[in-house]
Amino acid sequence: MIETRGLAKSFGALRVVEDAGFVARDGEITGLIGPNGAGKTTMFRLICTVLRPERGTTLIDGIDSQKDPLAARRRLGVLPDIRALYTRLTAREHLRYFGALHGIPRGELDSRIDELVATLRMEDFIDRRAKGFSRGQQMKVALGRALVHRPHNVMLDEPTNGLDVATSRAVRDLLRRLRAEGRCILLTSHIMQEVAALADRIVILARGTVVLNGTPAELRRATGLYELEEIFMAATQDPAPEEAPPGAATAEPALAAGE
């Protein structure tokens, strides 16, 4: 389970995340959505401990990531927005490298890699160097290195970005399978249909803070709107000078009670 409480982060004078808190539960897919510049990537980086918050706490399966970042990272598998691979290493060497960094013994690592190769359909390129990989192949390797240590919590930033229909579907199937295994999945996406189809719980971020948070049904109830896109637009539009964002004032307390 991933839990953030009152996270705040600035870069110089720019306040990127302000008092952001939500819970991503085990056995659920939580969609973190927001407009460009809302602070999604910064939230991701704060949760996976590569950035330090000015205030607030992140708990990964109850472990305070500020106090014990290594233990927190052991329980996290992260697919960042930039897939960046080492072009002179093969796909298998990537998985071995990241698996070894998680302390998995060589024999066990090799069998896990074989499993991932089958799951992610990487047979054709597993022993090829990454130079010249297609976006789909790059994404599969990046996904493989995020999953090789079988993390209980999986964070994916735009997992289907730039992928063809078949690969996108395979990724979605994989996420459903991980959910069925009881893992906690946190994903960001700009594709509303994808979030609507996958997410059990949706967190909408705007201006660095959580403006709406709940199951799709709860969001519909709170906003009186049906389509996720409409809910998103209503929640994230800039507030009028004298009034709060539509839905935000009413939804948050209602959902808090619902949690």
């Binding site: 990272r73 992260v78 960042p80 990046a142």
Partner: protein, 388 residues
């Protein structure tokens, strides 16, 4: 396996497959010995030729000193009679030197015969030939004066005040000394370039390509990641050093040695001692490279500074080659400068002070430790993740 070793292994595999890393650490270091070897061949060759062929004496107004001409011819010289234009001949390299005698000498006066010797010391063949003609002219002078003294009933020995006996205890003399003193700057340059591509690519490059962030999301400490990368940089620098030292060894055993004044080239043990002296610089160079990669905003900027870095210690070595400095203990405190002095002494087969060796190594390693601490701190910054 520790995280340091895992990162180190990955960087080694990665960069052993990288043509640029191999080129910089295995091929570039060969250029120094090749260049120096060519200089040895060129200088040695021209000096050997100049020393063995009969001395050709271009002379103007030879009729003014028939006795001198006869003396030179008896000594094996071939006279080349010139009407005029000796200066242009020497300047153009057509003659190694030229003798110009007066057209109408004052035969009655007891004044010496004015002899103008036109030389061009910018050419090695001219230096050798000029030395030979001056030797012949001095011999002629001694013989003529001796004859006059004997005619006056005085022993020619009266002219000798000193009986000079030279004993050369060095293993090198003449041009060989200068060429051998150029070896340390080449080595220093290699120490600061051998692993540079690995340092640059595994830090600035990794950050720029965006793969640094996923790496740091793993349960590893940043100092472990940096130490693994430092290890790979050190290994590539050592490979560069080894390839250059072996190339120097081959070069010194292949070039014409005697003609340069190289009595015997530095032996294997001496070259191993040179490598030992270099070891602290290997770590210093790698740490400096990683530090510069950390503080620069992009790979391009880091590349610019790292390209200039070897010039700082390298230039000090070049200055030493031209203006030798004695190994004072205070100089041992300057990293790379102390080692340059030591390497110079080792390749010239001179005595080395172990105290100086110890102070030099300690000063360099202390500086390295401070740079590494600073580097570890810089890699803890959040800015290190993101290309700017």
């Amino acid at each position: 396996m520790s995280a340091i070793l895992i990162v180190f292994n990955k960087e080694m595999v990665d960069h052993l497959r990288d043509g640029r890393s191999i080129l910089v650490s295995m091929i570039y270091p060969l250029l120094g010995p090749l260049l120096l070897g060519l200089m040895f061949f060129f200088v040695g060759g021209s000096m050997r030729v100049a020393d063995n062929v009969p001395l050709v004496v271009p002379i103007v107004n030879a009729a003014s000193a028939p006795d001198l001409v006869r003396f030179l011819e008896n000594g094996g010289a071939t006279m080349q009679y010139l009407p005029e234009g000796a200066r242009g001949l020497v300047m153009g390299g057509w003659a190694a030197f030229a003798l110009v005698l007066p057209a109408t000498p004052d035969r009655t006066a007891q004044t010496p015969l004015p002899v103008r010797l036109i030389t061009n010391p910018s050419r090695f063949d001219s230096i050798v030939a000029t030395g030979r003609i001056i030797e012949q002219l001095n011999a002629y002078q001694r013989e003529t004066v001796g004859g006059r003294l004997r005619a006056a009933g005085v022993s020619a020995e009266i002219l000798n005040v000193l009986n000079i006996q030279q004993e050369n205890i060095g293993r090198a003399a003449g041009p060989a000394v200068i060429l051998l003193t150029m070896i340390p700057p080449f080595l220093i340059f290699t120490l600061f370039t051998g692993g540079v591509h690995v340092a640059l690519d595994s830090t600035s490059g990794e950050r720029e390509r965006g793969s640094f962030e996923p790496l740091l999301m793993n349960p590893v400490r940043r100092y472990e990641v940096l130490t693994g990368k430092l290890g790979a940089t050190i290994v590539f620098t050592l490979m560069a050093l080894a390839s250059q030292v072996v190339a120097f060894w081959v070069m010194l055993h292949v070039v014409p040695q005697e003609s340069l004044g190289l009595i015997s080239p530095p032996g294997t043990l001496r070259l191993l001692a040179v490598v030992s002296v270099c070891l602290p610089i290997v770590v210093l160079a790698a740490s400096t490279q990683l530090l510069i990669s950390a503080v620069t905003r992009s790979m391009k900027e880091a590349q610019t500074y790292l390209g200039l870095l070897p010039l700082v210690p390298g230039l000090a070595g070049m200055v030493l080659a031209l203006a030798p400095v004695n190994a004072q203990p205070l100089l041992a405190l300057i990293p790379t400068f102390g080692q340059t002095l030591l390497m110079g002494q080792l390749v010239r087969s001179e005595a080395v002070s172990w105290v100086f060796v110890g102070i030099t190594a300690l000063a360099t390693l202390t500086t390295t430790a401070l740079l590494l601490l600073l580097g570890f701190r810089l890699y803890e910054r959040e800015e290190i993740l993101f290309p700017q």
